[in-house]
Protein backbone atom coordinates (compact mmCIF):
# COMPACT_ATOMS: atom_id res chain seq x y z
CA UNK A 1 0.00 0.00 0.00
CA UNK A 2 1.36 3.40 -0.94
CA UNK A 3 0.95 6.48 1.16
CA UNK A 4 -1.90 7.81 -0.96
CA UNK A 5 -3.91 4.65 -0.37
CA UNK A 6 -3.11 4.75 3.35
CA UNK A 7 -4.45 8.29 3.31
CA UNK A 8 -7.62 7.25 1.49
CA UNK A 9 -8.24 4.30 3.79
CA UNK A 10 -7.90 6.33 6.98
CA UNK A 11 -9.11 9.75 5.90
CA UNK A 12 -5.88 11.30 7.13
CA UNK A 13 -4.23 13.71 4.65
CA UNK A 14 -0.89 12.64 3.22
CA UNK A 15 0.82 15.70 4.68
CA UNK A 16 -0.44 14.75 8.14
CA UNK A 17 0.80 11.17 7.77
CA UNK A 18 4.23 12.55 6.97
CA UNK A 19 3.97 14.82 9.97
CA UNK A 20 3.13 11.94 12.29
CA UNK A 21 6.10 10.02 10.89
CA UNK A 22 8.41 12.95 11.54
CA UNK A 23 7.11 13.24 15.08
CA UNK A 24 7.73 9.56 15.74
CA UNK A 25 4.08 8.55 16.12
CA UNK A 26 4.01 6.33 13.07
CA UNK A 27 6.77 3.95 11.97
CA UNK A 28 8.16 4.40 8.48
CA UNK A 29 6.93 2.15 5.71
CA UNK A 30 9.17 -0.58 4.31
CA UNK A 31 11.30 1.24 1.77
CA UNK A 32 11.32 -0.47 -1.63
CA UNK A 33 13.32 2.24 -3.37
CA UNK A 34 14.82 5.62 -2.64
CA UNK A 35 11.50 7.35 -3.08
CA UNK A 36 9.05 4.55 -2.49
CA UNK A 37 7.80 2.76 0.59
CA UNK A 38 5.21 0.12 1.31
CA UNK A 39 2.68 0.48 4.13
CA UNK A 40 0.60 -2.26 5.71
CA UNK A 41 -2.46 -2.89 7.87
CA UNK A 42 -0.47 -2.06 10.98
CA UNK A 43 -0.11 1.48 9.69
CA UNK A 44 -3.85 1.76 9.17
CA UNK A 45 -4.43 0.54 12.71
CA UNK A 46 -1.82 2.85 14.14
CA UNK A 47 -3.30 5.87 12.41
CA UNK A 48 -6.72 5.02 13.78
CA UNK A 49 -5.20 4.77 17.24
CA UNK A 50 -3.47 8.13 16.82
CA UNK A 51 -6.69 9.79 15.74
CA UNK A 52 -8.60 8.21 18.63
CA UNK A 53 -6.05 9.34 21.20
CA UNK A 54 -5.91 12.88 19.87
CA UNK A 55 -9.55 13.54 18.99
CA UNK A 56 -11.29 11.43 21.64
CA UNK A 57 -8.62 11.35 24.28
CA UNK A 58 -7.69 14.96 23.74
CA UNK A 59 -3.99 14.11 23.88
CA UNK A 60 -1.41 16.40 22.37
CA UNK A 61 0.96 15.07 19.73
CA UNK A 62 3.77 14.92 22.28
CA UNK A 63 1.62 13.03 24.80
CA UNK A 64 0.44 10.66 22.10
CA UNK A 65 4.04 9.92 21.21
CA UNK A 66 4.87 9.16 24.83
CA UNK A 67 1.93 6.80 25.13
CA UNK A 68 2.68 5.03 21.87
CA UNK A 69 6.32 4.65 22.85
CA UNK A 70 5.16 2.94 26.04
CA UNK A 71 2.93 0.68 23.95
CA UNK A 72 5.73 -0.24 21.60
CA UNK A 73 8.16 -1.05 24.38
CA UNK A 74 5.67 -3.43 25.91
CA UNK A 75 7.38 -6.46 27.36
CA UNK A 76 5.41 -7.57 30.36
CA UNK A 77 1.76 -6.73 30.56
CA UNK A 78 2.08 -5.22 34.02
CA UNK A 79 4.96 -3.05 33.00
CA UNK A 80 3.05 -1.82 29.99
CA UNK A 81 0.03 -0.86 32.04
CA UNK A 82 2.18 0.97 34.50
CA UNK A 83 4.08 2.77 31.76
CA UNK A 84 0.87 3.81 30.06
CA UNK A 85 -0.61 4.95 33.34
CA UNK A 86 2.29 7.35 33.77
CA UNK A 87 2.57 8.36 30.12
CA UNK A 88 -0.97 9.66 30.03
CA UNK A 89 -1.03 13.38 30.58
CA UNK A 90 -2.43 14.79 33.77
CA UNK A 91 -5.44 17.00 33.02
CA UNK A 92 -4.63 19.71 35.52
CA UNK A 93 -1.82 22.21 35.32
CA UNK A 94 -0.54 24.56 37.95
CA UNK A 95 -2.51 27.71 38.53
CA UNK A 96 -1.37 31.21 39.30
CA UNK A 97 0.00 32.33 42.61
CA UNK A 98 -1.68 34.94 44.75
CA UNK A 99 -1.20 35.98 48.32
CA UNK A 100 1.76 33.87 49.52
CA UNK A 101 0.37 33.32 53.02
CA UNK A 102 -3.08 32.16 51.98
CA UNK A 103 -1.52 30.03 49.23
CA UNK A 104 0.79 28.25 51.62
CA UNK A 105 -2.10 27.57 53.98
CA UNK A 106 -4.33 26.25 51.20
CA UNK A 107 -1.48 24.15 49.87
CA UNK A 108 -0.85 22.55 53.24
CA UNK A 109 -4.54 21.87 53.78
CA UNK A 110 -4.85 20.33 50.32
CA UNK A 111 -1.82 18.11 50.94
CA UNK A 112 -3.36 16.90 54.16
CA UNK A 113 -6.68 16.23 52.43
CA UNK A 114 -5.00 14.13 49.76
CA UNK A 115 -2.92 12.18 52.26
CA UNK A 116 -6.01 11.56 54.35
CA UNK A 117 -7.97 10.42 51.32
CA UNK A 118 -5.26 8.00 50.21
CA UNK A 119 -5.08 6.57 53.70
CA UNK A 120 -8.85 6.19 53.97
CA UNK A 121 -9.08 4.52 50.58
CA UNK A 122 -6.05 2.36 51.38
CA UNK A 123 -4.63 3.29 47.99
CA UNK A 124 -1.10 2.32 47.14
CA UNK A 125 0.40 5.07 45.05
CA UNK A 126 3.83 6.60 44.63
CA UNK A 127 4.50 9.71 46.71
CA UNK A 128 5.93 11.26 43.58
CA UNK A 129 2.87 10.34 41.53
CA UNK A 130 1.89 13.14 39.18
CA UNK A 131 -1.73 12.34 40.01
CA UNK A 132 -1.17 13.10 43.67
CA UNK A 133 0.44 16.39 42.76
CA UNK A 134 -2.34 17.33 40.38
CA UNK A 135 -5.08 16.40 42.83
CA UNK A 136 -3.38 18.54 45.46
CA UNK A 137 -3.35 21.46 43.04
CA UNK A 138 -7.00 20.96 42.20
CA UNK A 139 -8.09 20.77 45.83
CA UNK A 140 -6.00 23.80 46.68
CA UNK A 141 -7.70 25.86 43.98
CA UNK A 142 -11.15 24.70 45.05
CA UNK A 143 -10.26 25.69 48.56
CA UNK A 144 -9.27 29.15 47.40
CA UNK A 145 -12.69 29.37 45.78
CA UNK A 146 -14.35 28.34 49.03
CA UNK A 147 -15.76 25.30 47.27
CA UNK A 148 -13.72 22.63 49.00
CA UNK A 149 -14.96 19.11 49.53
CA UNK A 150 -15.52 17.88 53.00
CA UNK A 151 -13.48 14.69 53.61
CA UNK A 152 -16.51 12.38 53.54
CA UNK A 153 -17.64 13.97 50.31
CA UNK A 154 -14.29 13.38 48.72
CA UNK A 155 -14.32 9.77 49.88
CA UNK A 156 -17.73 9.26 48.27
CA UNK A 157 -16.34 10.47 44.97
CA UNK A 158 -13.20 8.41 45.40
CA UNK A 159 -15.21 5.26 45.92
CA UNK A 160 -17.03 5.80 42.67
CA UNK A 161 -13.74 6.54 40.94
CA UNK A 162 -12.35 3.35 42.38
CA UNK A 163 -15.28 1.41 40.97
CA UNK A 164 -14.74 2.94 37.55
CA UNK A 165 -11.06 2.03 37.61
CA UNK A 166 -12.13 -1.47 38.56
CA UNK A 167 -14.33 -1.70 35.48
CA UNK A 168 -11.47 -0.38 33.37
CA UNK A 169 -9.00 -2.93 34.62
CA UNK A 170 -11.58 -5.67 34.21
CA UNK A 171 -12.02 -4.62 30.61
CA UNK A 172 -8.26 -4.63 30.14
CA UNK A 173 -7.93 -8.03 31.79
CA UNK A 174 -10.67 -9.49 29.61
CA UNK A 175 -8.43 -8.85 26.63
CA UNK A 176 -6.25 -11.74 27.69
CA UNK A 177 -2.89 -12.08 26.05
CA UNK A 178 -3.74 -11.15 22.51
CA UNK A 179 -0.79 -9.80 20.57
CA UNK A 180 -2.45 -6.40 20.39
CA UNK A 181 -2.96 -6.34 24.13
CA UNK A 182 -0.89 -3.27 24.76
CA UNK A 183 -2.77 -1.41 22.08
CA UNK A 184 -6.15 -2.38 23.51
CA UNK A 185 -4.99 -1.58 27.01
CA UNK A 186 -4.05 1.94 26.02
CA UNK A 187 -7.48 2.39 24.50
CA UNK A 188 -9.14 1.27 27.69
CA UNK A 189 -6.96 3.36 29.96
CA UNK A 190 -6.86 6.49 27.82
CA UNK A 191 -10.37 6.63 26.41
CA UNK A 192 -12.33 5.55 29.45
CA UNK A 193 -11.93 9.07 30.81
CA UNK A 194 -13.74 10.89 28.02
CA UNK A 195 -16.48 8.25 27.93
CA UNK A 196 -17.17 8.45 31.64
CA UNK A 197 -17.10 12.23 31.41
CA UNK A 198 -19.75 12.18 28.70
CA UNK A 199 -21.88 9.74 30.68
CA UNK A 200 -21.57 11.99 33.70
CA UNK A 201 -22.60 15.01 31.67
CA UNK A 202 -25.56 13.12 30.30
CA UNK A 203 -26.59 12.03 33.78
CA UNK A 204 -26.11 15.60 34.94
CA UNK A 205 -28.37 16.83 32.19
CA UNK A 206 -31.02 14.32 33.23
CA UNK A 207 -30.85 15.25 36.88
CA UNK A 208 -30.80 18.97 36.24
CA UNK A 209 -33.99 18.51 34.25
CA UNK A 210 -35.71 16.52 36.96
CA UNK A 211 -34.52 18.19 40.07
CA UNK A 212 -35.24 21.57 41.50
CA UNK A 213 -32.77 23.10 43.88
CA UNK A 214 -35.10 25.64 45.48
Amino acid sequence: MKISELSRRTGVPVASIKYFRREGLLPAGRATAATLAEYGEEHVQRLRLIKALTTLGGLSIAATRDVLTAVDQAETTDGTLRAISYALPVPVTAASAGDPDRDAQAEAAARADVADLIARMDWEVADSSPHVQALTTALRELRRLHADYRPEGLVAYAELAHAIAGLDLERAAALGDSPALAEQAVIVLALSGPVIELLRRLAQEDQVRRRSLG
Copy 2:
Protein backbone atom coordinates in the same frame (compact mmCIF):
# COMPACT_ATOMS: atom_id res chain seq x y z
CA MET B 1 -8.48 48.97 44.37
CA LYS B 2 -6.46 49.82 41.26
CA ILE B 3 -5.57 47.35 38.57
CA SER B 4 -2.05 46.85 39.86
CA GLU B 5 -3.35 45.80 43.26
CA LEU B 6 -5.92 43.52 41.66
CA SER B 7 -3.03 41.95 39.79
CA ARG B 8 -0.96 41.57 42.96
CA ARG B 9 -3.87 40.09 44.91
CA THR B 10 -4.67 37.45 42.27
CA GLY B 11 -1.30 36.80 40.70
CA VAL B 12 -2.71 37.57 37.26
CA PRO B 13 -0.57 39.96 35.17
CA VAL B 14 -2.08 43.34 34.42
CA ALA B 15 -1.94 42.67 30.69
CA SER B 16 -3.95 39.49 31.18
CA ILE B 17 -6.56 41.28 33.26
CA LYS B 18 -6.98 43.76 30.42
CA TYR B 19 -7.24 40.86 28.00
CA PHE B 20 -10.00 39.20 30.02
CA ARG B 21 -11.85 42.48 30.10
CA ARG B 22 -11.60 42.85 26.36
CA GLU B 23 -12.88 39.31 25.91
CA GLY B 24 -15.86 39.99 28.13
CA LEU B 25 -14.87 37.63 30.95
CA LEU B 26 -14.39 40.34 33.52
CA PRO B 27 -16.62 43.39 34.00
CA ALA B 28 -14.97 46.79 33.84
CA GLY B 29 -14.08 48.60 37.02
CA ARG B 30 -16.06 51.58 38.20
CA ALA B 31 -14.51 54.49 36.30
CA THR B 32 -13.56 57.39 38.55
CA ALA B 33 -11.89 59.41 35.81
CA ALA B 34 -11.01 59.08 32.15
CA THR B 35 -7.97 56.99 32.89
CA LEU B 36 -8.78 55.55 36.28
CA ALA B 37 -11.07 52.86 37.53
CA GLU B 38 -11.81 51.23 40.83
CA TYR B 39 -11.98 47.44 41.26
CA GLY B 40 -13.55 45.52 44.11
CA GLU B 41 -13.69 42.14 45.78
CA GLU B 42 -16.06 40.87 43.12
CA HIS B 43 -13.26 41.31 40.58
CA VAL B 44 -10.87 39.33 42.71
CA GLN B 45 -13.44 36.55 42.99
CA ARG B 46 -14.21 36.62 39.30
CA LEU B 47 -10.54 36.39 38.38
CA ARG B 48 -10.11 33.39 40.65
CA LEU B 49 -13.10 31.77 38.99
CA ILE B 50 -11.68 32.47 35.53
CA LYS B 51 -8.36 30.94 36.48
CA ALA B 52 -10.07 27.91 37.99
CA LEU B 53 -12.21 27.31 34.93
CA THR B 54 -9.29 27.65 32.53
CA THR B 55 -6.50 25.92 34.41
CA LEU B 56 -8.49 23.29 36.32
CA GLY B 57 -11.48 22.94 34.07
CA GLY B 58 -9.41 23.18 30.92
CA LEU B 59 -11.91 25.57 29.36
CA SER B 60 -10.91 27.85 26.52
CA ILE B 61 -11.39 31.58 26.87
CA ALA B 62 -14.44 31.44 24.61
CA ALA B 63 -16.01 28.59 26.60
CA THR B 64 -15.27 30.40 29.84
CA ARG B 65 -17.03 33.47 28.54
CA ASP B 66 -20.09 31.40 27.61
CA VAL B 67 -20.21 29.84 31.05
CA LEU B 68 -19.75 33.15 32.85
CA THR B 69 -22.44 34.73 30.72
CA ALA B 70 -24.80 31.97 31.82
CA VAL B 71 -23.81 32.65 35.43
CA ASP B 72 -24.42 36.37 35.11
CA GLN B 73 -27.82 35.94 33.53
CA ALA B 74 -28.93 33.71 36.38
CA GLU B 75 -32.55 34.35 37.26
CA THR B 76 -34.00 31.09 38.45
CA THR B 77 -31.72 28.48 39.92
CA ASP B 78 -33.01 25.75 37.66
CA GLY B 79 -32.56 27.83 34.57
CA THR B 80 -29.04 28.68 35.59
CA LEU B 81 -28.09 25.07 36.10
CA ARG B 82 -29.51 24.14 32.75
CA ALA B 83 -27.75 27.01 31.01
CA ILE B 84 -24.45 26.08 32.58
CA SER B 85 -24.92 22.46 31.71
CA TYR B 86 -25.19 23.41 28.04
CA ALA B 87 -22.56 26.12 28.12
CA LEU B 88 -19.87 23.72 29.27
CA PRO B 89 -17.86 22.50 26.31
CA VAL B 90 -18.15 18.91 25.21
CA PRO B 91 -14.79 17.17 25.53
CA VAL B 92 -15.02 15.19 22.32
CA THR B 93 -14.77 16.55 18.82
CA ALA B 94 -15.54 14.85 15.55
CA ALA B 95 -12.90 12.54 14.19
CA SER B 96 -11.75 11.95 10.65
CA ALA B 97 -13.74 10.06 8.05
CA GLY B 98 -12.53 6.85 6.48
CA ASP B 99 -14.26 4.18 4.45
CA PRO B 100 -17.81 5.60 4.00
CA ASP B 101 -19.51 2.20 4.25
CA ARG B 102 -17.86 1.10 7.46
CA ASP B 103 -18.34 4.58 8.90
CA ALA B 104 -22.06 4.56 8.23
CA GLN B 105 -22.39 1.13 9.81
CA ALA B 106 -20.40 2.12 12.88
CA GLU B 107 -22.40 5.34 13.16
CA ALA B 108 -25.72 3.50 13.06
CA ALA B 109 -24.56 0.97 15.62
CA ALA B 110 -23.30 3.72 17.92
CA ARG B 111 -26.59 5.59 17.65
CA ALA B 112 -28.46 2.45 18.58
CA ASP B 113 -26.14 1.85 21.53
CA VAL B 114 -26.72 5.35 22.85
CA ALA B 115 -30.49 5.16 22.41
CA ASP B 116 -30.51 1.79 24.15
CA LEU B 117 -28.43 3.13 27.01
CA ILE B 118 -30.65 6.14 27.55
CA ALA B 119 -33.70 3.91 27.55
CA ARG B 120 -32.16 1.46 30.01
CA MET B 121 -31.08 4.25 32.32
CA ASP B 122 -34.42 5.96 31.95
CA TRP B 123 -32.60 9.21 31.34
CA GLU B 124 -34.51 12.23 30.22
CA VAL B 125 -32.32 14.18 27.83
CA ALA B 126 -32.89 16.28 24.74
CA ASP B 127 -32.54 14.46 21.43
CA SER B 128 -30.47 17.36 20.24
CA SER B 129 -28.24 17.24 23.32
CA PRO B 130 -24.61 17.83 22.43
CA HIS B 131 -23.71 15.15 24.95
CA VAL B 132 -25.72 12.56 23.04
CA GLN B 133 -23.97 13.55 19.83
CA ALA B 134 -20.54 13.43 21.43
CA LEU B 135 -21.16 10.09 23.08
CA THR B 136 -22.27 8.69 19.74
CA THR B 137 -19.06 9.93 18.17
CA ALA B 138 -16.98 8.41 20.94
CA LEU B 139 -18.68 5.03 20.75
CA ARG B 140 -18.38 5.03 16.97
CA GLU B 141 -14.64 5.60 17.17
CA LEU B 142 -14.22 2.91 19.80
CA ARG B 143 -16.15 0.57 17.55
CA ARG B 144 -13.82 1.33 14.67
CA LEU B 145 -10.96 0.41 16.96
CA HIS B 146 -12.68 -2.88 17.85
CA ALA B 147 -12.79 -1.76 21.46
CA ASP B 148 -16.53 -1.27 21.81
CA TYR B 149 -18.36 -1.69 25.06
CA ARG B 150 -20.92 -4.40 25.38
CA PRO B 151 -24.28 -2.92 26.42
CA GLU B 152 -24.12 -4.24 29.99
CA GLY B 153 -20.62 -2.84 30.31
CA LEU B 154 -21.79 0.55 29.24
CA VAL B 155 -24.70 0.43 31.66
CA ALA B 156 -22.31 -0.37 34.50
CA TYR B 157 -20.30 2.74 33.68
CA ALA B 158 -23.46 4.79 33.26
CA GLU B 159 -24.69 3.82 36.68
CA LEU B 160 -21.49 5.04 38.25
CA ALA B 161 -21.69 8.23 36.22
CA HIS B 162 -25.23 8.68 37.42
CA ALA B 163 -24.10 8.31 41.01
CA ILE B 164 -21.40 10.93 40.46
CA ALA B 165 -23.88 13.34 38.95
CA GLY B 166 -26.07 12.70 41.98
CA LEU B 167 -23.25 13.72 44.31
CA ASP B 168 -22.64 16.80 42.20
CA LEU B 169 -26.24 17.94 42.35
CA GLU B 170 -26.36 17.23 46.05
CA ARG B 171 -23.36 19.46 46.49
CA ALA B 172 -25.02 22.14 44.40
CA ALA B 173 -28.27 21.81 46.34
CA ALA B 174 -26.44 22.09 49.65
CA LEU B 175 -25.44 25.60 48.65
CA GLY B 176 -28.98 26.73 49.24
CA ASP B 177 -29.95 30.12 47.94
CA SER B 178 -26.87 32.08 48.74
CA PRO B 179 -26.40 35.09 46.51
CA ALA B 180 -23.31 33.51 44.97
CA LEU B 181 -25.22 30.35 44.18
CA ALA B 182 -24.76 30.50 40.45
CA GLU B 183 -21.05 30.95 40.89
CA GLN B 184 -20.78 28.02 43.25
CA ALA B 185 -22.95 25.89 40.98
CA VAL B 186 -20.68 26.47 38.04
CA ILE B 187 -17.72 25.41 40.14
CA VAL B 188 -19.46 22.20 41.10
CA LEU B 189 -20.65 21.40 37.60
CA ALA B 190 -17.49 22.40 35.77
CA LEU B 191 -14.76 21.30 38.12
CA SER B 192 -16.20 18.01 39.28
CA GLY B 193 -15.04 16.47 36.02
CA PRO B 194 -11.32 17.09 36.47
CA VAL B 195 -11.49 16.02 40.11
CA ILE B 196 -13.22 12.75 39.36
CA GLU B 197 -10.77 12.15 36.51
CA LEU B 198 -7.84 12.60 38.86
CA LEU B 199 -9.42 10.29 41.43
CA ARG B 200 -9.98 7.72 38.69
CA ARG B 201 -6.37 8.00 37.59
CA LEU B 202 -5.20 7.62 41.16
CA ALA B 203 -7.42 4.56 41.63
CA GLN B 204 -6.14 3.22 38.34
CA GLU B 205 -2.58 3.66 39.49
CA ASP B 206 -3.40 1.77 42.69
CA GLN B 207 -5.07 -1.09 40.88
CA VAL B 208 -2.42 -1.37 38.21
CA ARG B 209 0.13 -1.74 40.99
CA ARG B 210 -1.81 -4.43 42.78
CA ARG B 211 -3.23 -6.43 39.96
CA SER B 212 -1.57 -8.66 37.44
CA LEU B 213 -3.30 -9.27 34.17
CA GLY B 214 -1.38 -12.46 33.29
